[in-house]
C-alpha cells in the first residue's frame, strides 16, 4: 500500500518504528497532489518547500525520541485557517494576497506536535455554500465522480482526503460544512460541540455557529485530531474551559446498551431511496451490535433552515464589515473618496453568494425588520435547542442521514439558492443547538457516490458519538473504499 493511502495511526506506527521517514511520507503526498489536483482542484496553495523542511525537522525530532501523535504527519487545512507566513485567501478575491500574520490556535496546536502543512484547501468563499462551487479559485470536483460537487463549504478538505492527497484535514462547520462534504466524499467528518475547539485565527462567518473539526479517513484519526485541537483557549472567549477527555481511549467501549434515537422528522418522504436504504442497513448493523432504537421527535426541524439563514447572514453581515479595503484585502483603484473606496473594494472583492448573504443579513438587522426577522429567528433557535434537550432525556445519541441526497451535479443548484440552502436541512439544526455530530461512510448510491450517516450527541458528548462511529466502522467496510483516480 502506498504511503498516501494510509491513516495517521498507520503512519505514526511506522514513523515510531523508524520504518519510514516524514520526508518520505510528505514526498508521497506532494507527488500525489501534483498528479491528481489538476482534475480535482482541492488545493488553493501547496506549501511544498516549507513542508519538506518541516518534515525534515520532524524526522530529527523523532530521532531524538520526541514523538507526539501527529509528529511528522502531513495535514492540509481549509483556507479559512490563518497560517503564519502562508497565503490565506478564504477562497475569495478579497484576500487573494493576504499573508496571515499569526497561526490559528487549532493549527498552532497541531503544528506544536510537529505536523507538516501540505497546503491550503479550496472551499466556498468565506465558507458560504453547500457545494464548493462558490470559490474565486474555481470549483472543487468530487473524486468519486468529477461531474459532481464534493459538498461544501469544506469541499476541498473532504475531496483532498478522498483523492488521497492528505491523510487528515481541518474544516469548519457552520451549518454542516464538515459533515456534508465528508458524507459526499466518503470520509469521516466531526463537528465538535460549540466551544470545544478554539475559533481564534479562523476567519469568521457566523460566530455563534462556526466550529472547527477534523475530516479524516477513519474514526480513530478523527479522535486523534480532536484530542490535539480541543480545549480552552484564552484567546477565544467562546471556547469552553472544561477538561478534554481521552477520545481515542473511548473508542473501544462499543454501542452495546446504548439507546439511539431516530428523529421521525429526518426520515421524510422525498428522502433519496439510496440514502434511505443506507440508513436502514446502518440501523440493522447497530441492532446486531447491541444498540436499542427508539423513535423520537424534533418537531421544529422544518424551521431550522429559515432560522439558520437569518441568524447566519446577520452575523455574516457584521463579521464581513471588516473588509473595507483599508487595513487588508482587495482595494479598488480610481475611487472617489473613502466611502466609494470601501463600496467599490467590497463589490469587486466579494462573489455573488457572499454579497447575497451580506444583503440578507443586513436586511434582517435593519430598522423595522430586526424584531420580525432576527429576534424571531433567535426565539425559534431556542425551540430547536429545546427539541434536542428533550430528545436527549430519553436517548444517548441520535442517528440521521447527513443529506437528503448523494452529491448532486456541478451547476445543478447554482441558479436557485433556496434549493441549495435546503440541501443542508439535516445538518443545520445541530449548529443552532450547538451540539456535536459526526458523519461516517455508510453506503453508496446506485451510481457509486458515497453516502454518510450522521450521529448526534449531547453537548460535549463527543466520546459517545465517536465510540458509536468506531463500532459501526469496525462492523462495515465503507471507510476502506477508495475513489478511482
Amino acid at each position: 500500500m502506498e504511503l498516501y493511502e494510509q491513516t495517521i495511526h498507520d503512519l505514526q506506527a511506522q514513523l515510531q518504528a523508524r520504518q519510514v521517514s516524514s520526508v518520505e511520507i510528505t514526498n508521497s503526498f506532494l507527488n500525489r497532489i501534483e498528479s491528481t489536483d489538476q482534475s480535482i482542484n482541492a488545493f488553493i496553495t501547496v506549501t511544498k518547500e516549507q513542508a519538506l523542511l518541516d518534515a525534515a525537522a520532524a524526522d530529527q525530532r523523532i530521532a531524538a525520541g520526541d514523538c507526539a501523535p501527529l509528529t511528522g504527519i502531513p495535514v492540509a487545512l481549509k483556507d479559512i485557517f490563518l497560517t503564519e507566513g502562508v497565503r490565506t485567501t478564504c477562497a475569495s478575491k478579497m484576500l487573494d494576497n493576504f499573508i496571515a500574520p499569526y497561526d490559528a490556535t487549532a493549527w498552532a496546536r497541531i503544528k506544536s506536535q510537529g505536523a507538516v502543512l501540505l497546503g491550503k484547501l479550496n472551499q466556498d468563499e468565506f465558507a458560504m455554500g453547500s457545494s464548493c462551487e462558490n470559490s474565486a479559485f474555481g470549483p472543487t470536483r468530487n473524486p468519486w465522480n468529477r461531474e459532481h460537487i464534493p459538498g461544501g463549504s469544506s469541499g476541498g478538505s473532504a475531496a483532498a482526503i478522498a483523492a488521497q492527497q492528505a491523510v487528515a484535514t481541518l474544516g469548519t462547520d457552520t451549518g454542516g460544512s464538515i459533515r456534508q462534504p465528508a458524507s459526499h466524499c466518503g470520509c469521516v467528518g466531526l463537528k465538535p460541540t460549540y466551544g470545544r475547539v478554539s475559533r481564534y485565527g479562523v476567519i469568521a462567518y457566523a460566530s455563534s455557529l462556526d466550529q472547527v473539526g477534523p475530516i479524516t479517513r477513519d474514526v480513530t484519526d478523527a479522535a486523534l485530531l480532536l484530542e490535539a485541537i480541543a480545549g480552552h483557549d484564552p484567546k477565544d472567549s467562546t471556547s469552553v474551559d472544561c477538561p478534554v477527555p481521552n477520545y481515542t481511549a473511548a473508542l473501544k467501549q462499543g454501542v452495546k446498551g446504548l439507546k439511539i434515537g431516530l428523529p421521525k422528522e429526518y426520515f421524510i418522504d422525498g428522502l433519496d431511496a439510496d440514502v434511505q436504504q443506507a440508513m436502514d442497513q446502518a440501523i440493522a448493523t447497530y441492532r446486531r451490535l447491541g444498540a436499542e432504537f427508539v423513535e423520537v421527535s424534533l418537531p421544529h426541524t422544518n424551521y431550522a433552515v429559515a432560522t439558520y439563514y437569518l441568524i447566519a447572514t446577520a452575523e455574516a453581515s457584521s463579521n464581513l464589515a471588516r473588509y473595507e479595503g483599508v487595513r487588508f484585502g482587495h482595494r479598488a483603484k480610481d475611487t472617489a473618496g473613502l466611502i466609494d473606496l470601501m463600496m467599490q473594494s467590497r463589490s469587486e472583492g466579494f462573489g455573488a453568494e457572499v454579497k447575497r448573504r451580506i444583503m440578507l443579513g443586513t436586511y434582517a438587522l435593519s430598522s423595522g425588520y430586526y424584531d420580525a426577522y432576527y429576534i424571531k429567528a433567535q426565539k425559534v433557535r431556542t425551540l430547536i435547542q429545546q427539541d434536542f434537550i428533550e430528545a436527549f432525556k430519553s436517548v444517548d445519541l441520535l442517528l440521521t442521514p447527513v443529506a437528503p441526497t448523494p452529491a448532486f451535479r456541478i451547476g445543478e443548484k447554482t441558479a436557485d439558492p433556496l434549493q441549495m440552502y435546503l440541501s443542508d436541512i439535516f445538518t443545520i439544526p445541530v449548529n443552532l443547538a450547538g451540539i456535536c455530530g459526526i458523519s461516517v461512510p455508510a453506503g453508496a448510491s446506485s451510481t457509486g457516490l458515497p453516502i454518510g450517516l450522521q450521529l448526534l450527541g449531547r453537548p460535549f458528548g463527543e466520546e459517545t458519538i465517536l465510540r458509536a462511529a468506531f463500532d459501526f466502522e469496525q462492523a462495515t467496510d465503507w471507510h476502506t473504499k477508495k475513489a478511482a483516480l
Binding site: Y194, N302, A352, M359, S366, Q378, L418, L432
Partner: protein, 95 residues
C-alpha cells in the same frame, strides 16, 4: 414578503455594496423567494420564548488589566493595500 429593486438598492447601500444592474435584478428575485420562505417562522407562536444568541451560556470574558505584547506595527501593516511608515493610507476625507 415582496421586495423591490429600490429596497435592494437601499440594503446594498447599508451593506456598503455597489451592485450592477444585472445583480440588482437577480438579487431582487432571489431575496424575495428567500424572504417568502423565512416567513414560515411566523407559523410558530414564540410569545414568551427567550431568544438564543449563543448555543452555550456566555459571560463577558475579561482579561487581566495589564499590558501584553501586541502584533506590532510592521505585522499589522504588512497586508495594507496602501500605507506609509506607521499608518494605513486612505483617500482624503476632507479636501
Amino acid at each position: 414578503m415582496s421586495i423591490n429593486q429600490h429596497e435592494i438598492e437601499h440594503v446594498a447601500k447599508l451593506a456598503r455594496l455597489t451592485l450592477r444592474d444585472d445583480e440588482k435584478q437577480l438579487f431582487t428575485g432571489q431575496m424575495e423567494a428567500i424572504l417568502a420562505y423565512v416567513e414560515t417562522l411566523n407559523e410558530l407562536n414564540t410569545e414568551g420564548i427567550a431568544p438564543t444568541s449563543h448555543a452555550v451560556p456566555m459571560e463577558n470574558a475579561f482579561r487581566p488589566d495589564c499590558v501584553t505584547p501586541s502584533i506590532g506595527h510592521d505585522r499589522a501593516l504588512a497586508n495594507a493595500p496602501d500605507k506609509n511608515e506607521t499608518y494605513f493610507r486612505v483617500p482624503p476625507v476632507i479636501e
